[in-house]
């Protein structure tokens, strides 16, 4: 396992550095409500990256969550607009559907034992197809203000979506680091067979995290819909790989067995702050992409190579 404590500290250091540099580049940066406004835009990414981290700790991956996000929004919108359903009932039903989408992933991965990359590659295409099929590219808007408040409103100055992200992060932080469920995730990522031999219901646990990923992608879909006041199948087109990238930047190991919720949250925050900071400093979007790409690749090399003790190539060839 990587030394996550150390990685978390490094990430914290990077974040502080980013904030310091950015606040030199632009005065606007240090304003709390500005920061909240900016971070709010990463709430969906932040929320989805948490179950992604759990899944990656077990050695899995879920490429389908951004399709689930779009699917949830579209279903919600259609239930409300064309079936005349109460908006909150539509929200609940749509989130249930997202849970079923997660369940299906879990079924493919834990019961049929299809490699997660493969299984969720398939459902990524299938759920996206479904969303486009329902939506027919048209989109729904005109939601009632009560629903839009979710994306617009705030509590003691903190936007709801940030609050929701924070609450989820705290809950999952506790689950991952303080409960046996969390320990099992690491155990599965380390040695799935051994975990099973130890009497731990591996399949049930895997199933659970894929369902959680579906549900949280659904929740993210609802927040996204509310924030943009539109439900469309092209929602969150930036895609699942960005969610994976945020977790990876946060120190999660794609091979499984390592990762932390705190690291992932910091990973998302760093990307968001750099993005926003460069815009605030009037630096072109094009430069931003280069900066983020470079940070990602260097952190990967750092975690994989320098972060571990340097070992002979040949030993690691055994995978």
């Amino acid at each position: 396992m990587r030394n996550m404590k150390k990685i978390e500290l490094i990430l914290l250091g990077i974040m502080v550095l980013v904030i310091v540099i950015m606040s030199f580049l632009s005065k606007a940066f240090l304003n709390i409500s500005t920061l909240f406004q900016i971070l709010q835009l990463s709430a969906e990414l932040g929320i989805m990256s948490i179950p992604m981290t759990l899944i990656m700790i077990t050695g899995g991956i879920d490429l389908s969550i951004t399709s689930t996000l779009a699917l949830t929004g579209v279903i919600m919108g259609y239930l409300w607009k064309f079936w005349g359903m109460n908006i909150w009932l539509a929200v609940i039903l749509a989130i249930i559907v997202s849970g079923i989408a997660g369940l299906f992933n879990g079924f493919l991965v834990s019961k049929l034992r299809i490699p997660a990359l493969l299984a969720t590659l398939g459902t990524w295409a299938a759920y996206a197809g479904l969303a486009v099929g329902i939506d027919r590219g048209k989109g729904v808007s005109g939601f009632p203000q009560s629903f839009l408040n979710l994306g617009e409103g705030s509590f003691v100055g903190i936007p709801y979506s940030l609050l929701i992200w924070a609450i989820i992060a705290v809950i999952f932080y506790i689950i991952v680091s303080k409960t046996s469920f969390g320990m099992y995730l690491f155990a599965i990522g380390n040695n799935e067979k051994g975990t099973f031999y130890s009497g731990i219901p591996v399949q049930k646990i895997e199933m659970t995290i894929y369902i959680l990923a579906g549900l949280l992608a659904g929740l993210a879909g609802v927040i996204y819909t509310s924030r943009t006041a539109t439900a469309t199948s092209s929602a969150f087109s930036s895609g699942a790989l960005n969610v994976v990238a945020a977790s990876v930047l946060g120190g999660t190991d794609v091979k499984g067995g390592s990762g932390s919720v705190l690291g992932t949250v910091l990973g998302v925050l760093i990307i968001a702050l750099i993005d926003a900071g460069l815009t605030l400093a009037n630096i072109q979007a094009t430069v931003q992409e280069i900066v983020v790409g470079t940070i990602l690749i260097s952190s990967i090399i750092f975690y994989e190579y320098v972060g571990k003790s340097k070992v002979k190539t040949i030993q690691t060839i055994s995978k």
Binding site: S26, A28, F29, N31, T34, Q37, I38, Q40, L41, R136, G137, K138, G139, S141, L148, G151, E152, R227, T228, A229, T230, T232, S234, F236, S237, S238, D275, A276, T279, L280, N282, Q284, A285, T286, E289
Partner: protein, 319 residues
């Protein structure tokens, strides 16, 4: 609140995405206006910033960051008629004057003004009249659009249908394809039209600046130059090659340099309170060398009539 005329003001211009020659032309126009205003002792700090691809989320992020900088005015061309409404309302609430150009959002309350490049009815009529003149009043036409959510394009399509029913009852739309404002897919859609719908469709009407050159290229590639009529909207620089090759006879557009120029003047007028009211209560804005423009219903300002580029005049333009 208005600003003292002599003190400098800050204006941001956010295109759908940076890089398209069309938006670069808008930027040129805005820069001309900035230069004039600076000379007049009305200093303007101007920034041009936007997503690198036509991505709604990135546009929202850019605008959110800009709001934090508290500029005096914001010019936008929206990627999504719905999803940008909340963030534009935020900008207005923050005391920023918001002026749309090129592509509006669905809710007039989300901005102070919209500079409409051309009356969409007039534009639609111009295109249909060209088809009638070149192919005949009973032609089948294929439309190549951006994506099914694009507000401008949808308005034009609706107007075309209405005008056809009125003036050319035998003319009909054979298919509508959506190329997503991307060169590759637009080209592919054009090929689809050629393969599947020619000769039922005797004309392609390509109503985005990306789609038109791609449609021309596809017709050229298929060797149907002179047989399959292509008309549409694009910047003259993009079409010069096709005028030369003879595959395109007319290119309909407004002048995007003027569009950017007028949008910037409008923003300046709003910020400095330089709007002129006439006796009847109708508002006018000063458009510099272009003269005065009436503010119509829903706070829409109409730039003017469409302009038709032909092989004879195209070389006089460079944008």
């Amino acid at each position: 609140s208005t600003t003292n005329s002599a003190s400098p003001i800050t204006i941001y211009m956010v295109p759908k995405f940076t890089g398209a020659p069309y938006f670069t032309a808008c930027e040129q126009g805005a820069l001309q206006a900035v230069a004039e205003l600076n000379e007049l002792g009305l200093p303007v700090k101007f920034y041009y910033m936007g997503p690198s691809t036509a991505n709604t989320e990135d546009e929202i992020k850019t605008i959110t960051s800009i709001i934090a900088l508290h500029p005096d005015a914001l010019l936008y061309s929206s990627n999504d008629a719905q999803a940008l409404i909340p963030v534009l309302k935020q900008a207005m609430a923050a005391g920023i004057k918001v002026v749309g150009f090129d592509s509006d959002v669905a809710d007039p309350a989300a901005r102070d003004l919209f500079i409409n490049q051309v009356d969409f009815n007039v534009l639609a009529r111009t295109l249909i009249d060209l088809v009638a003149q070149n192919v005949g009043p009973d032609a089948g036409i294929a439309i190549l659009s951006a994506d099914p959510n694009a507000a401008n394009q949808n308005a034009w399509i609706a107007a075309m249908k209405e005008y056809m029913a009125q003036s050319y009852p035998k003319m009909h739309i054979v298919t509508i394809q959506y190329g997503g404002d991307l060169p590759g897919p637009s080209y592919q859609d054009a090929q689809t039209i050629i393969n599947a719908y020619y000769p039922q469709a005797k004309a392609i009407v390509a109503i985005t600046s990306v789609a038109f050159p791609m449609a021309a290229q596809a017709v050229l590639d298929a060797g149907l130059s002179g047989k399959l009529y292509v008309v549409g909207l694009a910047t003259p620089n993009d079409m010069k090659k096709y005028f030369q090759a003879g595959v395109v006879k007319q290119d309909v557009l407004w002048n995007p340099v003027d569009l950017g120029y007028l949008a910037l003047y409008a923003a300046n007028d709003l910020v400095r309170g330089m709007m002129i009211s006439n006796i009847n209560g109708t508002e006018y804005i000063g458009g510099g060398k272009l003269g005065f423009y009436k503010v119509g219903p829903n706070n829409v300002v109409l730039l003017g009539k469409p302009f038709i580029f032909t092989a004879q005049n195209v070389n006089q333009f460079n944008f």
